[in-house]
């Protein structure tokens, strides 16, 4: 678990370890998907966060392939827009998860958030 400002550089960190494994051939290409909570809170643009993750992976040259959520997903980003956290990890099979957790709201109205890794992240 990290407690850092949500800059783009942090989106990519969960991808780093699986990507290194890919150099050893364990995961030729990391298949990454996104699951949304439903986005009923307009204060947070989750589509923009997804785009940030995609761009981060591209800039960092990560060996990843973004696919629609399904049985082939190896790493799933769970995107939540409020502390209720409706994006759950049900029916994800063996996929690892990286969860955007909103812990509350700061005094300036901005979300207080962290990326939380699932137990089984490689």
């Amino acid at each position: 678990m990290r407690n850092e400002a949500p800059r783009l550089t942090y989106y990519i960190r969960p991808l780093a370890r699986p990507a290194r494994r890919s150099l050893r051939g364990t995961f030729p290409i990391m298949k990454v998907s996104f699951r949304y909570c439903g986005s009923c809170n307009p204060q947070l643009d989750l589509a923009q966060i997804e785009e940030g993750v995609r761009q981060e992976a591209k800039v960092a040259g990560e060996d990843v392939f973004f696919i629609p959520l399904g049985s082939e997903t190896e790493l799933c980003f769970l995107l939540n827009a409020c502390p209720v956290g409706c994006a759950d990890d049900q029916d994800l099979g063996s996929a690892a998860v990286k969860r955007l957790v909103i812990r509350g709201w700061k005094s300036d109205g901005q979300p207080d958030w962290i990326w939380e890794e699932g137990e089984d992240l490689p």
């Binding site: 996104f34 699951r35 949304y36 909570c37 439903g38 009923c40 307009p42 989750l46 994006a87």
Partner: protein, 480 residues
């Protein structure tokens, strides 16, 4: 997956051959006619968002019949979580349309009939629920938009259906045949009727034995022979022919696009009849539908309030008064009112319960309280928005004058607020506030899903006044 795209929805409407009148003429193409196009766009948003991964968790659900992913608007609530998701979805969509997207009426009709057909069968040994399940599967598989038709014209309000001078003032049975029934009458104020695929008819009130012929529930395709639609007028609707800015919300319009639907001896096959003469179940069906529908108003109206609050805040910035304490006070009050509505919708959903059919039902007392609040709070939100926006709301020049090469520069000069905002931005915000706070939307929040008195009746029925009196007596020392 049985989900239509927004374009497939529009195309499917073009295939329906129905009779719609507006201003003395036939509307041949509801998708492109200026009067109906905004309402089609608003309903199309429900299809578009269901296919967007970002909104899919709220806008879709897993069918308990087929296990398939379906639109939430065709889903039967399987838990209180489903009821909460419904509320969140409605607010979410309203934030994008700023107007009614119409599909909740059919949604509530499906859920009400699911429970009531089951309970009717349990008591009377009828086979309505089985028929209804077949119909529900069809609606879910095809991702159809249904309009829920409940409100009869009613004639003299103090008389029961069977006592009316003209029997057609409540929709009624004309004939029973081997293959089905024939019905006649009308349903008024039907939201989304001209751009739905199916019409689901329910009785409008509790009924007695003498009203058997009026205790009817059924579904028919929207282009069934004998159906005729008379599309209603709205405040400032002629602006739909006059450009974009003056409409305020040109893409999605305002409220739902209501119609008077006339049933001229319409034939309904038995497999689509869900109640026929069982008058004991007319009242429960009305109550079930009404409470589901009143739940909605704390959701979609909170979504509309989000837009109104945003527009009021933006126009305060444009006027350079956003920091004034009285403006902040008013905006805070608007947020308080809006979130109170939303709180009610969430509460009646969280406190929902399982019915004998397995479907979940909202807490009716809380749902009716929510809608009653809407009839007051939404007006106050609109009043405050108009207060903040200023008198220009009622005196703004037209888009034509703004675009005129001679007059336009004068408008841009004299209506420029002197801040970073332009005169056009100021006018656009003003028109949006006008669109959402004047005329038809106010009447809609007052009477949509039933007039305030209908809620008061349920409030008093459910409040447990006897128990409250006991509590008071005990506390002040009066012995029972």
């Amino acid at each position: 997956m049985s989900l239509m795209t927004a374009e497939e929805y529009r195309d499917s409407l073009k295939k329906l051959r129905r009779t719609i009148y507006f201003m003395g003429s036939r509307i041949e193409d509801v998708v492109n006619h200026p009067a109906t196009r905004p309402h089609v766009n608003a309903a199309a948003m429900t299809y578009e968002m269901a296919l967007d991964p970002q909104f899919e968790p709220l806008c879709t659900a897993t069918s308990h019949l087929s296990g398939n992913r379906i639109s939430r608007f065709t889903h039967i609530h399987q838990s209180t979580e489903d009821l909460v998701k419904k509320v969140k979805m409605l607010r979410l969509i309203a934030q994008r349309t700023g107007s009614c997207f119409q599909r909740c009426v059919g949604f509530d009709a499906l859920n009400a009939l699911f429970g009531i057909t089951y309970e009717t069968d349990q008591k009377l040994g009828t086979k309505y629920h089985e028929r209804f399940l077949q119909y529900l599967s069809y609606v879910q598989e095809k991702d159809l938009m249904c309009t829920g038709a409940m409100t009869d014209p009613k004639g003299a309000r103090h008389l029961a259906p069977s006592q009316q001078k003209d029997p057609d003032l409540y929709l009624h049975l004309v004939e029973k045949r081997k293959e089905g029934i024939v019905v006649r009458g009308a349903k008024a104020h039907q939201t989304g009727a001209v751009n739905s695929h199916e019409v689901i008819v329910m009785p409008t009130a509790a009924m007695g034995e003498a009203d058997q012929a009026y205790a009817l529930a059924f579904a028919i395709p929207a282009d069934a022979p004998g159906l005729l639609y008379i599309f209603g007028r709205q405040t400032n609707d002629s602006r739909k022919w006059e450009g974009e800015i003056d409409q305020g919300n040109a893409r999605f319009g305002t409220v739902g696009g209501e119609a008077l639907v006339v049933f001229q001896d319409v034939f309904v096959p038995w497999e689509r009849v869900f109640l026929c003469g069982e008058y004991d179940f007319a009242g429960p069906l009305v109550d079930r539908f009404a409470s589901y529908h009143r739940q909605n108003y704390g959701a979609c109206k909170a979504g509309n309030c989000d837009i109104i609050i945003g527009a009021a805040s933006a126009i305060a910035f444009a006027h350079g008064v956003a920091g004034a304490s009285h403006i902040r006070e008013k905006l805070g009050e608007m947020v308080h009112l809006s979130e109170t509505l939303y709180s009610g919708a969430i509460a009646c959903s969280s406190e929902g319960h399982k019915t004998p059919s397995g479907a979940y039902f909202v807490h009716p007392l809380l749902a009716n309280t929510t809608k009653l609040n809407v009839t007051r709070f939404y007006y106050e939100v609109c009043r405050l928005a108009q207060d903040i926006a200023g008198g220009l709301l009622a005196t703004m020049p037209s888009e034509q004058d703004l675009r005129d090469p001679e007059i336009g520069p004068l408008i841009k000069k004299y209506l420029c607020p002197g801040t970073e905002a332009s005169a056009e931005e100021r006018i656009r915000l003003g028109r949006l506030i006008e669109n959402m706070t004047c005329g038809a939307p106010l009447v809609e929040v007052m009477h949509g899903a039933g007039s305030p008195q209908a809620m008061k009746i349920i409030l008093l029925r459910q409040a447990g006044l006897e128990q409250k009196m006991k509590l008071a007596r005990r506390l002040c020392g009066i012995e029972e």
